[in-house]
Amino acid sequence: MFRTALRNLLAHKTRLMMTALAVLLGTAFVSGTLVFSDSVNSAFRNKMAKSLDDVAVSVTAGRPTTALKEKDALDSRVVETVRALPGVASVRPSVSGTVMVADKQNNPAGSEWGSSGANFVPGANGKDSRYPIVKGRGPAGEGEIVLDARTAAKTGAEVGGTVRLAIDGPVMTKKLVGIAETDDPKVSAGGSLALFDTATAQKLLGVRGQFNELVVSATPGTDQRKLTAAVRDALPKNAFRTQSGKELAAEESKAIDKETSSIRNTFLAFAGIALFVGVFIIANTFTMLIAQRSREIALLRAVGASRRQVVRSVLIEAGLLGLVASAVGFVLGLGVATGLRAVLNSAGADLPDGPLVVEPMSALTALGVGVVVTVLAAWLPSRKAAKIAPVEALAAAEQPPAPRGLLLRNSLGAVLTAAGVAIMLYVTTLKDSGGLEIAMAGAALTMAGVIVLAPLLSRPFVHLFARATGRLTGVSGKLAKENALRNPRRTAATASALMIGLSLITGLTVVAVSADRGVAKMGQQDLTADYKVTSANFGGLSTDIARTLAKEPGVTAAVPLRSVGFQSSDEPALAYAADIASLGKVADIRFVSGSPADVRKGTVAVSDQYAKERGLKVGSTLPMDFYDGEKAAPKVAAVYAKNDVVSAVLTTPSLVDPHLEKVRDDEVLVKAAPGKAGELRAKIKETLGGNPLIKVQSQDDLRRSEAGSIEDVLFLMYGLLGMAVVIAVVGVVNTLAMSVFERTREIGMLRAIGLARTGVKQMVRLESVMIAMFGAVLGVGVGIFLAWSGGHLVRSSFPQYEMVVPWARIAVFLLIALAVGVLAAVWPARRAAKLNMLESIGAQ
């Protein structure tokens, strides 16, 4: 039987090409994802290992920066204590923080998360092994700075020139005295590095005389674990975090794994969708092959092959096909992995460079997945092969198989669809977002139901389509219609493959566009300010900024907002502090009970939603546990309607400030005098000294930045789902090629009685378009339904969400489906038109 399977595989290799392509693309996606995530993971690890190379022990301050009690301070006394321990080769006390260096346009030169600053620690030879100076010299003195080469280039400054930077407040200028190298992954991944001498770094980034971290390196032969224990024992209990280099490495590895595995799992989910689509194509091919080969199989049965042997032969053939296709797919996957990194990097992912890492497991997984998927998909068709009776070998002429009833299938499809729709309708009644799993199950059931029902639905659709286009397409259209209807299962399976991709694309598009609209509404709804001033490093703004802006001519109000996290009965929430009287000038906050005037020291206002959740009303007490260990129990003085400017709790700065490490504003909301809004933006920037740290955003900017990220994610999804669509297109080509092959004699006869080549082409093309449009219409319909019903979940946590169907974009999807139909038909149609008439008529 193995030989029969192999022979069959070889005999039909061109016909199996399209199927192989479907498997190949799916496995390329899988193996590409696996190799990509392994490579990125290993690149990250290499980077990390390099930077932790000479770290034997690390001591970090329990809570960095400000206001540490004397005994907890990581100061030079601690450095000396550690340095005196046996086995310690050196101690590198470091200070680190965020430093935003201004580029030529006064924007941050580094990424928001990677703009780091540190101290330069020269050894006895004047060099710092961690930051080798490649040009100029190390920083010495308050006015000097050293940058990494890329950042220096962005500022446009040469060594000896001046650099503008900001840390948490005003802009400073420093003299660039050197260029340093670093292997800090944050920096190489798009950040920036600024080095100062230790005293300056402490002054700018921390507290004078204190450090963030001590990096201890050991003398050769010292046991890292013992040294760590010794350091731990030598220092005051619980004041610092003491970790060995190995522990640090393990911790970072875990973080890296977590990060890469989340990317990997997302991509694998899409690869799964692509493979699932592939299943339809494989099943279709094997069904057709077995139908074509039924006499052959009957002959095998007649000469004594058992049913089991026939099934096994088909499955072996599928397995071989899967193996070959996934082996090629795996190789293609290496290309995908390389491309993926390039694509993500160009989208700003800042992935480190490194060689492609091909784990044997990736290869095995790709091959395994390819073979298993192909064999599973061929399983149902193989059962059909087993049902072929030996007597069919003796049948004089080939009889088309009697159309099997679709009753069972339709009943099953109706039940599945009804169940799915019922679940989705139930989801629309859910009030909270906890119904995600239910909605996913409902969506899966609905899609499965529609797939099962597709043969039934194909009939009215094809009739309708043919009627709509009948005048234009004439006899070719009529013949195409009959061909599409001839085997509803095949038409449906081909269309379903396209439907899956398109329903996901449509559903995501509708939800994304609706969310986008919601975001746009949100920005306009509660915020009446013209500009929002924030810090680019999320570190907050100096309180001077609000005061400066308030004095600016043309500014009606500049209201600072700050916030602090707290827990109430272990539930985390955020308390905002603002001057409540002036908050009304920049935001529309409606009080539903109590009076805003009563909100003063020792009282709070809460949102109606939070009040409901916590059972609060005016006069009740809100217990607050702050993260610095302090507690408070202010009275609720007022309740306001939930809004997007201040979340759960609004109070006065007097309640919030004591619990902040540094009193800084999260944002300053600026309302311009009437007619002055336009010119104010430049003025604000100017007033704040062209500070790279400070972001000034108008309402439009805010809307665009939110909307932009939604669009970006949507386009990434399009890209990933595009693979599923490509495989579906392969399926359409496959089905058409097979049907042209099956209808060779019909086509020959049609040509003989006078159908021109163009007519034959048109016939194949129209069948293709009908299949593609059927899949597209089903997909768009299902997608819109799922987006509508699932959208209720979004609304529960995002009340501005409003279902918007982007008809223009959906029309584009349908046009693309039309184009897909035409394109998929190019090759089969050409083949059909080229058929030799006489040979075709005589073909068996």
Partner: protein, 260 residues
């Protein structure tokens, strides 16, 4: 009877020439695999005549029909339908010629399984975008005895009925000439006789011109005239044939092996 008639064609019956082959040759392959299927054949088919082409396997009878019907190209010489020289036509024009002026009945697989009998009958006109002449259509359908089965699909018809649908299709478009390639090859003798009766009748009653390739002497006996081919040449001709006479003539091929 008159199988002693002169060759290529001595006496012509009434009516113009519907199709004509002159010095027609057809060669397949090159070099060692070169096969001459037709060797300078000259023959005429007149309007309103039912001609059978006979000959042993490989005599070139099907090739002659294919060349005359515009299904296959000729190597040299001329093939004409009416006044039209087929060699001068491109694929598109040939297709139109077949559609508008020629009818076909094949041995098997004449019908599209997805279309009803009536749709199959009107298919050539559908392709041409013409409306069928309803009166004529009714007469043709009536003549071949399919009135009650027009909405049936081919799978619901017997083999004989299917071939009658094919004949009706060939007649319905009123072609100048109908080519039939072993139309009874797949039928039992009763259905075959019935079908041949219809072909004969369509020539008599509807003045149709039919050229039929067959290897069955009984089938040939329904024709007005039989052309015998051997080794790619026309070797004999018989008017008013009977099955026995044709059989005798055919036996001579077997006996002599090769005739020239």
């Amino acid at each position: 009877m008159s199988h002693a008639a002169a060759f290529p064609l001595a006496q012509a019956p009434t009516g113009a020439v519907a199709a004509r082959a002159t010095e027609l040759s057809k060669v397949y392959g090159q070099g060692e695999t070169r096969v001459t299927a037709l060797d300078s054949v000259s023959v005429e088919f007149r309007r309103g005549e039912f001609t059978a082409i006979m000959g042993p396997s490989g005599s070139g009878k099907s090739t002659l029909m294919h060349c005359l019907a515009g299904l296959d190209s000729v190597s040299s010489g001329s093939a004409r339908i009416g006044d039209v020289e087929l060699a001068s036509l491109g694929d598109r024009q040939l297709t139109r010629l077949r559609r508008d002026r020629i009818g076909f009945v094949f041995q098997a697989f004449n019908l599209l399984p997805t279309l009803t009998a009536l749709e199959n009958i009107t298919l050539p006109m559908d392709i041409a975008g013409r409306k069928p002449d309803q009166q004529w259509l009714d007469m043709v359908v009536g003549t071949v005895g399919l009135s009650g089965r027009l909405t049936h699909r081919p799978s619901q018809l017997s083999g004989g009925q299917q071939q009658r649908v094919a004949v009706a299709r060939a007649l319905a478009a009123r072609p100048e000439i109908i080519f039939a390639d072993e139309p009874t090859g797949n039928l039992d003798s009763r259905s075959g006789a019935e079908l041949l009766g219809f072909l004969h009748e369509s020539v008599r009653a509807l003045q149709q011109t039919i050229v039929m390739v067959t290897h069955d002497p009984v089938a040939a006996s329904y024709a007005d005239r039989v052309i015998f081919l051997a080794d790619g040449r026309v070797v004999d001709e018989m008017r008013e044939p009977t099955a026995d006479a044709v059989l005798d003539r055919m036996k001579r091929f077997d006996a002599k092996g090769r005739t020239s």
